[in-house]
Each structure stands twice: as C-alpha cells, then as structure tokens.
C-alpha cells in the first residue's frame, strides 16, 4: 500500500495548480495536505460537538442528586462514549489536522510524503466513528464499562463490544498511518538547509509524538484483540475462570494509555511554543532544552504506566518505583513551563486571541500538572483514586491543556488557511467566556473528589449537591461558548473583509509565513532557499 502511494503521488497534481473542482474530486479523492488537514480539522470539530453533547447529558443528570433525566445504563454509555469520542475523534484528529496543514509548510515540503496513504488515514475515521456511534442504537445498548474497557465489566455487555473493538482497530490504523506519514515527511521532505535543529518546535513535537503513536497504538490493538478473543473465541487472557488475569489487561492497556496521554499533549506543547515567541516578539527561550524536554517526557511515558492502577494490589516496591518515576516527569515539564515564562520575560507582548489561549494553557495546564503530582503520591492516590479529583485533573490537562492549545493554534493559523482575519473582538469574547466557564466547570470537581464523590456514577450523596450544580452551570456555559468559536470561524472564512498579510502576525517567524495568505493549493513545489535569519530557530545557539 505504501509502495503504491509512493510511486505516483506527485505527478497527478503537478500540471495544474488550482484545486480540483467538485466535492468528490476535491475532498473524497483528496491527496493535498491542506485539503486533508481541513478535513481532519472539520471532522475533529464535528466530533468535539458530538462528544460535547454527551458531556451535556452527563452534566444535566448530575445537576441535582437523584435520578432525573436518563437511565443509569444510558449515563454509563455517555461517560464511555464521551471519552472515546473526545480522545480518538476530537483531540487526536485535530492534532493530525494541524500537523497535515502546517508540517509541510513549516519544513518547506510540497506535500506530505505519502499523500494517498494520507487520504486513506483520514477517510477511515468517518467509518470508525459511524461504527462506534451505531452501538448507541443497538439492542443491548452501547459500551458502558468506561473508555478503558476493563474486563470483566467490558465483557458483560451485548455484542456492541465487538463493534467498539473494531472501531478502535480502525482508529488505531488511521493514527498509525498518519504517524508514519508525518515521520516520513519530517525526515525526508525538509527543504535543503533546514537541519533538524532548525525545525520549528511544533514539527519537533509532532515528530516525537508520531514515534509514540507507532510504538503504542499497536499495543492497544493487541489488548482489544485479546478482549475480542476472550469474548468470542474462548481464550482466557483476562478471564480468571480460565486462569487469566484481569489485572494484566490494565497493565497492557496503560502501557498504551500513558504514552497516549502524552500523544494528546506534546503537539499542544509545540503549538504553544510557536505562539508565545510570536506574541512576545522574542525567540523561544531554550529551544534545544525544549526539544530534549519533549523527548525526555516521551521516554518517561513508557515507564510509569502503573500509576493508573495503584489500588490493584501491587507489591510495595512496584508502587514506590512507579511513584518516583512519575514524579520525575515534573522535571522536564517544569523545564518547559519555565522556558515559556522566560520567553515572555521582558518581551513586548500583545494579547491577541491565540496568545490569550496560549497563556491560559500555560497556567491551567500547570494546575492540571500539579494535581497530577498529587495523584502520583501512592498513599494519597488511595483516597483520590476513581473520584472526581481524577476527573478534574485530566480535564484540566486535556481541556484547558490540549483543547485550548488546539484553539490557540486554530486562531493563530486560521488567517494563513483562509486568507482573512477572524474577528478579534469575538475571538476575545470566546476566550474569556471559555476560560471562565471552564474553571467554573472543573475547579469544583477537585473539591468533590477530595470529599469522596466517585466518578462514573449517575447519582450522588446530597452532600455533593452544591458543587455539582456549580459545575453543571459551568459545563452548559462552556458548551455554549464553543458555538461562538464556530461562529468566529465561519465569519472569518466566508464573510470577513479584513485580508490577512503574508506574515499575518508582526512577530511571526518561519517558512509558513513566507507563502501568501491564503496559502495557495500548492506551495514549495520548488524547495525554498533557506535563509537562517528568517527562521524562528535559524540561530541554534539560542
């Protein structure tokens, strides 16, 4: 497959420079990295709203104690599907979309290395998510055992398990192909003279993320395959009755799962590291240290997985090891946070919407990192485990972390994509509305968790009523705020009269700002001549 794609990729588009006309030719047969990037981003936004509506159902049910709106089974379906859709349908495709759009532009390549595989890896996704969402309408209902699919619970549902497993296989194949494509593009397609240590930091973060993807997505595929054979073919990998061990699933799953959480945050680090220097009008402080920090985090992600399962009954030595190894991750992460702050130090800063989202990222992601450190402490984790404290923690790192970075990136590069400036006024309204509501939504969940409210339960003790109501109000507010985001994008693409300049932002550096806005359908058909002084990181000594 890869071979076929390599053979005749470029010929097709070389002779005509306009985009092909017609929906089928332009989008379904898309091999252009910009078109595929757009497809990924639109798909991710759609899934963000699908997963978001599920979160609205969850928060509506939790608005008051007692069972109000939905059945417990449906509530469990919502928590399970919300996670699967947000992780595999919204955050990951959004990063792949940004990578598709920006990596070739940032390394001076005419396109991705394997354009047809690129098409395939996108078009698998709608099928995967149709398969996944169809389980909601099946007799015996959809998956209810949580996105982690722990056996034996995940095996006790109906045949929707099989659909979920195949959907995960498809998503995995899509991610793996996307990752191979990105590695091949970065390592082989860079313009002559653009050395690895002159690449933009977003490209670096994606290169490392892509390595994580090809190393761990197949492990997830193996784990769910074992679930499948346990359920349908009489094997006993995780079936205690047949001599298997359900705890082993947790080990295999989290060997995938922990690198997975960094797959969802490393590209966010990259985006923020692009935006802060632009609006601080200073080069990124500690460029190489940032790269080494990303690489160290990626390495550490492979050796800390059991901190997700401290309460399964591990030997003391194991718990101590995983505790200290986990805490070690704070060191490279601290390097990154301090470097962002130092980049801003004495910079001449302006606060356009992308910068606001990037600053919110730095502050709120750090809060999520701190609660992560609290969870890493074994004796404390026994209290926090499976409570809303965990929910608050991972929503701080994934919503105000990953999602805010994606939005920052969208605002930052949107003028380059569509050629028009978005409405700064409405962008700022979107930002302030989001950043306030998201804290109203998730901050009280820390208190709920510390007070002992368990996660994934549709009802709760009346003692938790007030904070849940506050959290739900924040949830509806945050959900509604995202409609502003859609409005800003539609306005910018179709109605905005304000044309973007080539450089778009005064402090922007790098190859993507040397092409016109909007970026033409084909760019860098002849490799650009690299002028180190024009690159963001041309001077490797900084």
């Amino acid at each position: 497959m890869a071979h076929a794609a390599v053979h005749d990729d470029h010929h097709a588009d070389h002779d005509h420079h306009a985009a092909p006309q017609g929906f089928l030719a332009r989008w379904v047969y898309a091999t252009n990295h910009k078109d595929i990037g757009t497809l990924y981003l639109v798909f991710a936004l759609l899934m963000f709203f699908v997963g978001g509506s599920m979160a609205m159902v969850i928060r509506a049910e939790l608005f008051q104690p007692g069972m109000q709106l939905v059945q417990p089974e449906f509530f469990n379906e919502m928590t399970t599907m919300h996670a699967l859709i947000m992780i595999f349908g919204a955050v990951m495709p959004a990063f792949v979309g940004l990578g598709n759009w920006m990596i070739p532009l940032q390394v001076g390549a005419p396109d991705m290395a394997l354009p047809r595989m690129n098409n395939l890896s996108f078009w698998i996704l709608p099928f995967a998510f149709t398969l996944l969402l169809s389980t909601l309408f099946m007799p015996g209902a959809g998956p209810q055992g949580g996105w982690t699919l722990y056996p034996p619970l995940s095996m006790q549902g109906g045949h929707s398990t099989a659909f979920v497993i195949f959907a995960i296989h498809l998503m995995g194949i899509s991610s793996i192909m996307g990752a191979i494509n990105i590695i091949a593009t970065i390592l082989n397609m860079r313009a002559p003279g653009l050395d690895l240590l002159k690449m933009p930091i977003f490209v670096w973060s994606w290169l490392i993320t892509a390595f994580l993807l090809i190393a761990v997505m197949p492990v997830l595929a193996g784990a769910v395959t074992m679930l499948l054979t346990d359920k349908y073919f009489g094997t006993s990998f995780f079936n205690a009755a047949g001599g298997g061990d359900p705890v082993m699933f947790q080990h295999i799953f989290w060997f995938f799962g922990h690198p997975e959480v960094y797959i969802m945050i490393l590209p966010a680090f990259g985006i923020v590291s692009e935006i802060i220097p632009t609006f601080a009008r200073k080069p990124l402080f500690g460029y190489q240290a940032m790269i080494y920090a990303i690489a160290s985090i990626a390495f550490l992600s492979f050796i800390v997985w059991a901190h997700h399962m401290f309460t399964v009954g591990m030997p003391l030595g194991g718990e101590l090891y995983f505790m200290y190894a986990t805490m070690l991750i704070a060191v490279p992460t601290g390097v990154k946070v301090f470097n962002w702050v130092t980049t801003m130090w004495e910079g001449s800063m302006t606060f356009e919407t992308p910068m606001l989202f990037a600053l919110a990222f730095v502050i709120l992601f750090t809060i999520g990192g701190f609660s992560g450190l609290m969870l890493a402490i074994v004796p404390a984790d026994f209290q926090y485990h499976d409570t809303y404290f965990v929910v608050a923690h991972f929503h701080y790192v994934l919503v105000t972390g990953a999602v805010f970075a994606i939005m920052a990136g969208a605002y930052y590069w949107l003028p380059k994509w569509c050629g028009n400036m978005y409405s700064e006024r409405w962008g700022k309204i979107h930002f302030w509305s989001s950043v306030i509501s998201v804290n109203v939504l998730f901050f009280p969940q820390h208190f709920l968790g510390l007070a002992g409210m368990p996660r994934r339960i549709p009802d709760y003790n009346v003692a938790f009523a007030d904070f849940n109501m506050i959290s739900s109000i924040g949830g509806f507010w945050f959900g509604a705020s995202q409609l502003i985001f859609v409005g800003v994008i539609i306005h910018a693409v179709y109605y905005s009269k304000q044309r973007a300049t080539q450089q778009v932002w005064e402090g922007a550096r790098g190859l993507e700002w040397t092409v016109p806005s909007p970026a033409p359908h084909h760019t860098f058909s002849t490799p650009p001549v690299i002028d180190d002084s024009k690159l963001a990181h041309g001077d490797v000594t900084h």
Partner: protein
C-alpha cells in the same frame, strides 16, 4: 531536481518499511506482555500466579518449625454467574510452618441442572504466595455437581518454614467460576440438562 526527488522517494519508502516493522513489533510486544507479566510476577516480584501442585517429596523435606505458628484464614466466594453455595468448614487454623495440614470446603449446587465449576485460588499477601504449597487441591480439577448435589472437598497444604517472620497471617481464598465450555459439553452428552443461560 528529479534525482533529488527520486532520492527522497527512496528515503520515504525505506522509512515506511522501518516504521511498518516497528508497528508490527509493538503489536507483537502487546502479546509478549502475557508471558512477560507471568515472568515478572514469579521471578522479579515473587508472586506465584499459578495454583500448581507441589510435589509431595519437596514438602516432606521441609522441617516442621514448632517454635512458630502462622494463622491461615480461608475465604470462599462464588462468581455471580454460578448458582452454587460454597464455604470453608472452618474459617481459620493455626499451623506450624512445615507441617502438612488439611482443610475442607463444602460446595452445593443450588440450581436445577448439572454444572461444571472451576475454583481459582489466591493467596494474600501476594508476596507470601511463594511460601504456600498445596499438595492437593480441588482447584486443580474441574468439579461437576449435579442439581442439588453437595461435595466436601479437601485442600492439603504446607507453609514453607522459610516464610518471612513478618508474615503472621496468610489468607487462602477461592472463587468458584462456572466452566461454561465444560458445562455445555455436559449438555451435549445429556440433552435433558438445562443450560447455564437459564439461570
């Protein structure tokens, strides 16, 4: 230029091959974690996973340590899919390490059909499991109980005298699971027996 392009394509092809290899290797690694998990538990962390029989001569060679007693507690539970009653006859015994001890468990099939069950043993604390030797156990074999049938089942064990002094109490727990494959085979032989699904 076209030469450069051809070289790039060759590079991409090579890289795609290597990356495909990495993908395949990590898929296989997922499955390799099954034996690795066992090896790590038994040889690194000192947790015995398998409830295998221990040879009688190995146990006979152990000297009885009269100076010390260890409390062995028994716990019996039944998986929700198996309509059986299952309990130990005594809930705890005091034993000298090295001494062969016998304990009895009772199981009753409270359903209206024959069912095959398997008991899965577990020893807590897990790090003491290496020192708990079973010379005979009903958990080694399938147990078939007809409707309403009861059975007294023995387990004979020896606590290794090398058991760390810090361990004063050991818990031996059994969970009985329905062996659906063996039960359905039973149904094939005797069509009158109701299937497990009816419970």
């Amino acid at each position: 230029m076209s030469e450069g392009l051809a070289e790039k394509k060759r590079g991409v092809r090579e890289l795609a091959k290597v990356a495909g290899g990495v993908v395949l290797a990590s898929f296989l690694f997922g499955f390799a974690m099954v034996p690795l998990y066992r090896i790590a538990c038994e040889h690194v962390l000192g947790i015995k996973l398998a409830g295998d029989v221990v040879a009688a001569d190995k146990v006979a060679a152990m000297a009885v340590d009269e100076s010390r007693t260890v409390t062995v507690e028994f716990v019996a539970s039944v998986n929700s899919k198996l309509p059986w009653a299952f309990a130990p006859e005594v809930s705890r015994v005091e034993v000298h390490p090295g001494k062969l001890t016998e304990a009895w468990f009772d199981a009753t099939n409270t359903s209206h059909g024959a069912i095959v069950g398997n008991a899965v043993p577990s020893v807590a604390p897990s790090t003491a499991s290496l020192y708990f030797n079973k010379t005979e156990c009903f958990c080694f074999t399938e147990q078939k109980l007809d409707a309403g049938e009861s059975r007294r089942m023995p387990v004979r064990f020896v606590v290794d005298p090398q058991l760390p002094a810090s361990v004063k109490v050991l818990t031996l727990s059994y969970t009985f699971y329905a062996n659906e494959t063996a039960t359905s085979r039973l149904g094939a032989l005797a069509p009158a027996a109701p299937s497990l699904a009816s419970h």
